[in-house]
């Protein structure tokens, strides 16, 4: 398994679990949970600094250092392509030219579903501008294919709405996306339990990205470890290839040689 690595654009990873940094109680819990998850790709959001804040207050990137982790800035709460592109350019400046971004353009406050047309427009601009784009999208196989053909380095369909914890609601669509994919397919959003993450990996997904499932667990650090194991188990299970399913029972012990 140690040779089974994940290639995303020009980057290369051992871990197939990607985690967010939102919703933790404090930065200490963030750090411990992310360490326990074994994740190498860690998402962050970009926001205005608080003017007049205590200059000694620790900041997220002091705890989750770009030297240790591959920081993946997101465009959360951008509703237009322009906003998303502007955010990505600021992120690249913030991270000294780091070109990997998570593009998400939202369409609706209630479902947090992606606005696919704005996502396509933003992806096109960002790719032309030299970004390596990991793109959050719906579980529509045709859109996933189009984003791949445009040059996105990973396509990240939702399993269920962001933060819902409802699991992989349409495994059939995820399987259709996987069937034609030439770039990594990463389930982003919807995972609630370790078994959800395992289901995604058993389907053949290349990775899983999650935040709330860990941060909103009663014990986030323990859940982070559970998710690490779940993703590893699902990946190994996928590579091993499952047994054929049968309608009726098939004994594992031989009939012959029974005592009278």
């Amino acid at each position: 398994m140690s040779s089974d690595r994940l290639n995303v654009g020009t980057y290369n990873f051992q871990s197939r679990l990607m985690v967010g940094t939102g919703k933790y109680r404090d930065l200490d819990e963030t750090r411990l949970a992310i360490e326990a998850s074994g994740a190498e790709i860690v998402t962050v959001a970009l926001r205005r600094t608080n003017i007049g804040q205590n200059p000694n207050e620790p900041s997220l990137l002091d705890v989750i250092s770009p030297e240790r982790y591959c920081i993946l800035p997101n465009t959360a709460f951008c509703y237009t392509a322009d906003e998303a592109v502007r955010t990505c350019r600021l992120a690249r400046e913030l991270l000294d030219g780091h070109d990997l971004v998570k593009l998400e353009v939202l369409g609706d406050d209630k479902t947090l579903y992606p606005n696919v047309t704005e996502t396509l427009a933003a992806a096109e601009t960002l790719i032309k501008d030299g970004f390596q784009v990991m793109v959050y999208t719906s579980d529509d196989p045709l859109i996933a294919k189009r984003l791949e053909e445009m040059g996105c380095v990973a396509v990240m369909p939702l399993g269920a709405p962001i933060g819902s914890g409802l699991g992989i609601r349409n495994p059939h669509n995820i399987a259709l996306i996987l069937e034609n994919a030439k770039v990594p397919i990463i389930v982003d959003a919807g995972v609630g339990t370790p078994s959800d993450a395992t289901v995604a990996m058993e389907l053949g997904c290349d990775g899983v990205l999650m935040n709330s499932a860990i941060a909103h667990a009663d014990q986030p650090v323990l859940m982070a470890e559970a998710m690490k194991l779940a993703v590893e188990a699902g990946r190994a299970g996928y590579l091993a290839g499952r047994m054929p399913a049968a309608t009726y029972g098939r004994a594992s012990s031989p009939r012959s040689g029974l005592i009278d």
Binding site: G22, T43, V44, L46, P55, R89, G163
Partner: protein
């Protein structure tokens, strides 16, 4: 004294000849931030040489927790 809009808020600063001095005045000079002035990104290497002018709209962003 010059008047700026920083992150949407009106801000008056005594003296800030350039972006580096502005960040210093705002206690952000040791922080990992990115700066936009009037919607143009100012690369970190140009902070000491980019003038701040009366009426500029300045955005200063940082990384925070997100998914």
């Amino acid at each position: 004294m010059i008047r700026l809009t920083v992150n949407g808020e009106p801000v008056r600063v005594q003296q800030a000849n350039n972006v580096a001095e502005l960040l210093s005045t705002l206690n952000l000079h040791e922080k990992r931030v990115a700066v936009e002035i009037n919607s143009e990104i100012i690369p970190r290497s140009e902070h000491p040489t980019t003038r701040v002018r009366e009426g500029d709209r300045v955005e200063i962003v940082r990384a925070i927790g997100g998914g």
